[in-house]
């Protein structure tokens, strides 16, 4: 993308609409949160939330605080660690289940029994059987992405148009060629979709896991990640910081998804043309 294209996109109507909507939302939030102060009547729900101006003041105080960025770093580390592990294990597993019938027969039933167990239900067990808290959090985030990735890869590889394989076979492709040049690229869109969904779940899971397990072995609020940051703010009574933590997770999740979308777009250029 050239610079001019980028600035065009940055100042496009769609971007302005997004900024406008966020602005409107902030105004409502501010008015609602300050309702008691301004009108003498506290609006339900929103009247108890700290106003955005206070949140931003609190946030600006945190921007220079390395422990706040340490929370970002820790959560990102766990999310991407668990997510990459889920890709490394999940993609081959899904592909192998799709192409090998007897393996599918053996693996799929156990997979389907384990899949409905929410990753968070694994927290106590994983604290017991992983040597460090860090590993148990990473394991739970791994589970968050793992099932979604496997199911998507399996579904994608199973629904390949049979005629692609027949055509390739007629043209002299070997078994390995068929896998590498037909099965793999034909499954790639499903891999991308599965990863994007899995990434979302990973963020949901990591935050909860951090809250429950107390932020990992690196100790304290500083090394605990964004989930623990929210939890310790709640315990410490700093309501503004709770909101800061929540928005931070929103932004972090958005950055992760956008990264995956861009990467997915590069890997599947033929889908852009539809």
């Amino acid at each position: 993308m050239s610079i001019s294209k980028f600035t065009d996109k940055l100042f496009s109507r769609a971007t302005l609409r997004g900024i406008f909507a966020i602005g409107i939302f902030m105004v409502f939030w501010e008015v609602g949160a300050r309702s008691e102060e301004w009108f003498g009547y506290r609006f339900p729900f929103i009247g108890l939330v700290p106003p955005p101006t206070d949140v931003f003041v609190s946030w600006s105080g945190l921007i220079a605080d390395p422990s706040y960025w340490q929370s970002w770093y820790m959560s990102f580390l766990r999310v991407f660690g668990g997510f990459l592990a889920a890709m490394v294990v999940g993609i081959p597993l899904g592909l192998f289940m799709a192409i090998n019938k007897s393996f599918y027969g053996m693996a799929f039933p156990s997979f389907e029994v384990l899949r409905p167990i929410p990753p968070l239900a694994w927290v106590p067990a994983s604290i017991i059987f992983w040597p460090t808290q860090e590993l148990s959090i990473a394991f739970v985030t791994f589970l968050g992405a793992f099932y979604t990735i496997v199911i998507n890869v399996l579904g994608g590889a199973k629904s390949i148009n049979k005629q692609f394989l027949q055509a390739a076979q007629s043209m002299g492709a070997s078994q390995w060629d068929m896998f590498r040049r037909i099965v793999l690229p034909a499954t790639l869109p499903s891999i991308v979709v599965g990863s994007a969904v899995g990434m979302g779940i990973t963020w949901e899971v990591v935050v909860a896991a951090e809250m429950i397990s107390g932020g990992g072995s690196s100790g304290g609020g500083a090394g605990g990640g964004l989930g623990f940051f929210i939890w310790s703010s709640y315990v410490g009574g700093s309501y503004e910081q709770i909101i800061v933590g929540m928005i931070s997770i929103g932004i972090a999740g958005y950055i992760s998804s956008e990264l995956l979308r861009q990467l997915g777009g590069l890997l599947t250029p033929w889908l852009k043309t539809r």
Binding site: N161, Q163, A167, S170, D177, R181, P185
Partner: protein, 287 residues
């Protein structure tokens, strides 16, 4: 059309390979105990280089026959030979798919993740006995011959369905097949695009004469393209009537309005209608 093409276009004498002998082929499907006979003692001889049009009612088993030649299916009994060599028959129920017989599928099977050029180069790249540069040079020149210049780096999804079909035929021809197997490739196209595709196909054929085994429902298409029509009976599939199309090649769209074309159309229509009625009645009974 060049003079070279016109001189020898009518004769198949210069085509030396691609003769198909289908002899007494029977195919019985037995998926859940209820044996269904799809092909019944079907015998067809197709000389090398002929455009042989297979016409028949829906679901009569034409595609089963095509799949047996291509090697995607086995046969129950009988035999199929290509240039005297056994493809499938006694002791070898299923032919091995090979680049001497390439299928152009009904819904198209271009790989959407490869550009048109990469699609066309796919077969020779898989076989791997030519250099990459040679293959791509040939692919480019064949695309140019087929009027596909400028779409080399497009993905199949970026060009019209008519162009896609042309890319697929060029991809098939890149393998130097002896036989092209068409499974109703133009079914989904509108009639205007179809007429353009027919002329384009003939032009490609005049340049690279290979045997063509072409399944269709469309009588106009069948008579316009074919040297011969083989009208199949409703299930189980076996040849009911063989019609020679004595309109000389090269043909173009003016043929459609000729009296001989009309005569052949009427002759074929009667036979096909009778079989279609039978298939319809049989369908009602089963339901």
């Amino acid at each position: 059309m060049s003079a070279v093409i016109e001189e020898n276009v009518g004769s198949l004498a210069d085509v030396t390979s691609g003769a198909i002998n289908i002899k007494d082929v029977v195919k019985i499907y037995d998926p859940d105990g209820a044996a269904v006979m799809a092909v019944d003692h079907c015998s067809i001889d197709i000389p090398a280089g002929e455009i042989c049009m297979i016409v028949g009612p829906s679901g009569c088993g034409k595609t089963t026959l095509l799949n047996a030649i291509a090697g995607f299916h086995d046969i129950t009994s009988g035999s199929i030979h290509l240039d005297g060599e056994l493809l499938c028959g006694p002791g070898k129920p299923q032919a091995k798919p090979g680049s001497d017989r390439i299928v152009v599928f009904q819904n198209g099977a271009l790989f959407p993740w490869k550009t048109n050029l990469d699609n066309i180069a796919f077969g020779p790249m898989m076989v791997g006995n030519q250099s990459k540069a040679e293959i791509y040079d040939k692919a480019r020149s064949m695309m140019a011959d087929a009027g596909l210049s400028g779409t080399e780096n497009n993905f199949p999804g970026e060009v019209s369905s008519g162009l896609r079909r042309r890319v697929e035929i060029v991809r098939a021809l890149m393998n130097d097949p002896k036989v092209l197997l068409f499974d109703e490739p133009y079914r989904a196209l509108d009639s205007l695009t179809k007429s353009v595709m027919h002329e384009a196909l003939l032009e490609i054929y005049y340049r690279n004469k290979v045997t063509i085994f072409f399944i269709t429902h469309d009588l106009e298409e069948a008579i316009f393209l074919g040297h011969r029509l083989i009208i199949m009976s409703s299930r189980p599939c076996k040849p009911k009537k063989i019609m020679e199309v004595d309109i000389p090649h090269p043909r173009d769209y003016s043929v459609l309005t000729s009296p001989r074309f009309r005569e052949l159309m009427n002759e074929a229509k009667d036979v096909v209608h009778e079989e279609a009625q039978k298939a319809f009645d049989a369908g009602e009974k089963e339901g």
